[in-house]
Symmetry: C2
Subunit: 147 residues, 2 copies
């Protein structure tokens, strides 16, 4: 299985807010239209991003905005905020191995450190990429697009 599209949608949201906030009010309907998803899905994501301190959302009047400098928001922050993997574990473990078998009884201990190493390698790379990088490329592609 793959990491949930909640992650790429969340990044999409940041790109949209930054690109359009001068011109439009950024509502969940507006974002849902760009992403092509249901507005309720967007609102849930915005709630999670808000809980992580990455965006602000105006209740009543409406509108979302980015809460921190772009270069301070890493992919890792977003990945944690939107809980795109289950219980923080990248690998799904077969939990019910046979405890009467010497291998079944120990397989979790045997693998845990190795799986963590791999997950950590991924997460460290995520920390190196920020929304500032996304915005830079968004502008680049949009300007090429228009030509």
């Amino acid at each position: 299985m793959q990491i949930s599209s909640r992650f790429t949608i969340a990044i999409h949201i940041f790109a949209c807010i930054n690109t359009f906030e001068k011109e439009y009010k950024i509502t969940s309907d507006f974002l849902a239209s760009s992403v092509n998803a249901n507005p309720v899905i967007i609102r849930k994501l915005l709630q999670q991003l808000k809980a992580a301190g990455l965006v602000t959302v105006q209740r009543g009047s409406g509108g979302a905005s980015i809460a921190k400098p772009l270069e301070e928001i890493t992919f890792f922050d977003i990945y944690n905020a939107v809980e795109c993997i289950d219980k923080g574990k990248l690998f799904h473990f077969h939990e019910n191995s046979n405890k009467n078998c010497p291998v079944g009884r120990n397989i979790h201990h045997i693998l845990d450190d190795k799986l963590e190493r791999i997950q950590k390698a991924m997460e460290e790379e995520m920390k190196k990429i920020t929304i500032a990088d996304v915005i830079r490329d968004t502008r680049k592609y949009i300007s090429e697009d228009i030509k």
Copy 2:
């Protein structure tokens, strides 16, 4: 979402074969009992591992064995063999973004290289861990277990 348990089960299979092949014939039923999964699931996995040249399976008489030196079988080999992520992509992309929106139209281009970087970091770490490492720790834990 998480990476399918097919991956950890496959590693479990290698640990079992190596630990018990001197004593027992390693049938899909034997492995299924240690993993606590259905024998058909195990057979499908064995087929995939066989297709990747990592194990051999005897039809008719029965029994599986490891086809290569332990230190030449990396986690990356297994991960590829058992197709534990969808279409080789770690991240699920929201594919139907709005092509009339400048961001929706370009978001895939904008993100692809960054997602690949992250996936690659994970896969490179997977290449550094082998079944030899697993077997070493299996023996260690089992011997501690017995004391």
